[in-house]
């Protein structure tokens, strides 16, 4: 495989965004960066700007107010880009069925590559999802 693909596999940089979540998934995703689970051993770094990131990790059931902003962040990331939906609310709306102001799942706004269910998602499941994404990239 070429050097660009190799470097992308060895060190994907992530950008993290919360779209109207209850914050339980947020703290579990951040806990995945802390020493007990340590997702940084895969070369993953948490970056600040969408222009520097390869992977977008999104949590939360998308509320109507934040949906255009999510789309704008996605469009600001350079190609190739990948999206991980962490948590049941990001996959499908979760426990908020029937609530107005919730669109229900981020795949109504942007295309998603990996879905990680859980309420909240466990840090081990986040690591598993990231590794599966890397395997998918390696495969082609």
């Amino acid at each position: 495989m070429g050097i660009i693909k190799w470097s992308r596999l060895k060190s994907p940089w992530i950008l993290y965004m919360c779209t109207g979540a209850c914050n339980a998934c947020d703290i579990e995703v951040i806990a995945a960066l802390t020493p007990r689970f340590d997702v940084e051993r895969f070369g993953i770094l948490l970056k600040g700007s969408p222009r520097h990131a390869d992977v977008l990790v999104v949590t939360g059931a998308v509320s109507r107010h934040v949906a255009p902003r999510l789309k704008r962040i996605y469009e600001q990331m350079p190609h190739p880009k990948f999206v991980i939906a962490a948590g049941t609310c990001a996959c499908s709306g979760g426990v908020y069925w029937g609530c107005y102001n919730v669109l229900g799942g981020i795949d109504k706004v942007i295309p998603v590559d990996i879905y990680i269910p859980g309420c909240p998602v466990r840090p081990e499941a986040v690591i598993d999802g990231v590794v599966k994404l890397l395997m998918k990239l390696k495969g082609g």
Binding site: A21, N23, G98, P120
Partner: protein
């Protein structure tokens, strides 16, 4: 000097939730701020109208995932008062224990995130590593780390058996040791003190006028703690300290949380 408008929007590396502020900065001093709320508005109050009483417990828990136990406790106590029932004493004590575990993990999280936001990443990593011990205890009792759904109308869903006592006591002893160390770091480290003392001052009279509650008020020397004023569950029978600090700045609010461990 002209004022510079800095938007901190729904996506920012320092924030974990989606809030939206526009700060007016004069040099490095924040002169004004305009919040725009509504990113996290999900319509939960209307959603409760379509749910049964028991389904409501799970929706109320997800109002905030970090502090989920106070929301469920409040909901369950209200429904019990409407029905005129009271949970048995053992359930009240178990509710108190689970609420206190939630408080410990939440304060550890807050102090760690404060360290992260001023750039002190090692403090953040150390605290969150120790916070995992609290999550282990919660997982031992209830099976889940964060949103535990341990409260039911009329009681609790999980029991604390004698076998759990050993691991819980060991985890608490370890944490007591570590929090003394974190408190010493917070009190003596010059960078933390320079960044948090006399920053974000909320004078006592303003805190009372604007009806601040909790550690925000106690950091401004207002003696108010709902566990003392209106004891619920077993708090009336358990002694603890009401902590206030007089300096009214960010340092005081953090010290209130550290002392409450």
């Amino acid at each position: 000097m002209p004022v510079y408008k800095l938007p901190i929007g729904p996506q920012h590396p320092a924030i974990k939730e989606a809030f939206h502020f526009t700060f007016d900065l004069d040099g490095e001093v924040v002169v004004d701020v305009k919040p725009r709320l509504g990113n996290v508005h999900r319509g939960i109050e209307k959603g409760m109208e379509f749910r049964t009483w028991v389904q409501g417990i799970f929706l109320v828990e997800r109002i905030c995932g970090i502090c989920n136990t106070p929301h469920t406790t409040c909901y369950v106590l209200t429904v019990e008062e409407l029905y005129g029932v009271e949970a048995p004493p053992r359930a009240q004590y178990i509710r108190t224990i689970i609420n206190e575990l939630n408080r410990i993990h939440s304060h550890l999280l807050w102090v760690g995130v404060l360290g992260m936001e001023i750039g002190f990443w090692s403090y953040f990593m150390y605290i969150w590593r120790d916070r995992e011990r609290v999550m282990d205890v919660v997982e031992l009792i209830t099976g889940n780390r964060v949103t535990t759904s341990a409260m039911l109308i009329g009681g609790v869903a999980y029991d604390i058996t004698p076998e759990m006592e050993g691991p819980i006591r060991r985890a608490m002893d370890y944490l007591e040791e570590r929090t003394k160390f974190y408190k010493k770091v917070f009190e003596t480290d010059p960078t933390i003190r320079a960044r948090t003392q006399d920053v974000g001052v909320l004078p006592t009279s303003v805190a009372i006028d604007l009806c601040a509650v909790g550690p925000t008020a106690r950091g401004s020397d207002v003696k108010s703690d709902v566990r003392v004023d209106e004891p619920y569950c077993a708090y009336g029978e358990v002694p603890f300290n009401l902590v206030t600090y007089p300096t009214c700045d960010v340092w005081a609010r953090a010290m209130v949380r550290i002392d409450q461990f």
